[in-house]
């Protein structure tokens, strides 16, 4: 379709809408559950549910085959970040055994213009990303653990999400909803 780039692309959504929606979701959760730990866990669970579905979309759109090793996996996740969030993270901090690595994001569209107030210092605002990674990889039979190491909202330079490979899932387990 040849349209002028100034026309609204009906398939894409303004990124501010995503940022504001996510922010409103987190703010509402905080009001509903007073505990920041619970909110962080819920965000991770939300991310998990998104991840198990996003992986299908990703595989359908890119048509990639099996990953040969964890580095391949990291590269694929990197291109998924670019596809869905529009940011390119750096893959870094590989552990000595080669089973842990980090994504370093220096800009995160989910946290644009967000400032954490003091009483929510323990909130892991980007936990949804950890959940997405965990959910998506579980659907391709990789059990991983992912958590946030650095967070721009808490004053760090950039946001770092660390992923650790636990094991390969041999049985085809149906994705259980938590």
């Amino acid at each position: 379709m040849s349209r002028a780039s100034t026309r609204f692309d009906t398939k894409k959504v303004n990124s501010e809408l995503v940022t504001l929606t996510y922010g409103a979701l987190v703010a509402q959760m905080i009001k509903d559950l007073d505990n920041t730990e619970d909110v962080s866990k819920q965000l991770e669970r939300l991310g998990y549910n998104m991840g198990i579905r996003l992986i299908e979309d990703f595989l359908a759109k890119t048509g990639t085959g099996r990953c040969l090793d964890l580095k391949d996996t990291a590269d694929k996740i990197q291109s998924a970040f670019r596809m869905y969030l529009g940011v390119q993270p750096n893959v870094a901090n590989w552990s000595a055994a080669g089973d842990e690595f980090s994504f370093i994001l220096d800009s995160n569209p989910l946290t644009d213009l967000v400032e954490l107030p003091d009483e929510l210092k323990n909130l892991k605002y980007c936990n949804i990303i950890c959940g997405v990674i965990r959910g998506a990889l579980e659907m391709v039979q990789l059990d991983v653990q992912s958590w946030i190491v650095q967070d721009q909202l808490k004053g760090d330079q950039n946001t770092e999400v660390r992923v650790k490979f636990i094991r390969r899932l041999e049985d085809a387990m149906p994705a259980g909803e938590d």
Binding site: Y22, G23, A27, L113, V114, E115, L120
Partner: protein, 139 residues
């Protein structure tokens, strides 16, 4: 440059106040709050029938011997007030307008923070820093 900036909400309660010189804060608060009367007057006289969309900038509200006070109102009735030192080089109208535009854009950014409830006082540190930059003209 500007010596004082204030943001007043639509119910005329102060949302944010910042002075470069902390000693004169009380005096400036008084001047700003009394200039709100002028703002109300301007809003009432220009709103006869058609809503004046172009004029968010209200111009100079008040002129004292040492200071000049300028006002700007958004469509959501949030008022921005800037107090400028008269002894400073005469700031052109354009510069004041651009200061207000920057302030408005900073305010819009702060309102997008999901943890800010519109109607509360603004206590964000980065907003503070940005406003001080606008006031001293370093942005």
């Amino acid at each position: 440059m500007a010596v004082c900036v204030a943001i007043i909400g639509k119910d005329n309660s102060p949302k944010y106040f910042c002075c470069l010189n902390p000693d004169e804060e009380l005096g400036f608060q008084y001047k700003v709050l009394s200039s709100l009367d002028v703002v109300e007057e301007k809003l009432n006289t220009t709103n006869k029938g058609t809503n004046d969309l172009r004029e968010l900038y209200l111009g100079m509200l008040y002129s004292l011997e040492t200071h000049k006070i300028y006002g700007y109102v958004t469509n959501t009735k949030i008022k921005f007030i800037i107090v400028v030192d008269s002894t400073n080089m005469a700031l052109r109208d354009n510069e004041i307008r651009s200061m207000f535009r920057k302030l408005h854009s900073e305010y819009a950014d702060i309102v997008c923070n999901p943890f800010y409830i519109p109607g509360d006082a603004i206590c964000s540190k980065s907003f503070d820093v940005n406003v001080k930059n606008i006031m001293t003209g370093t942005v």
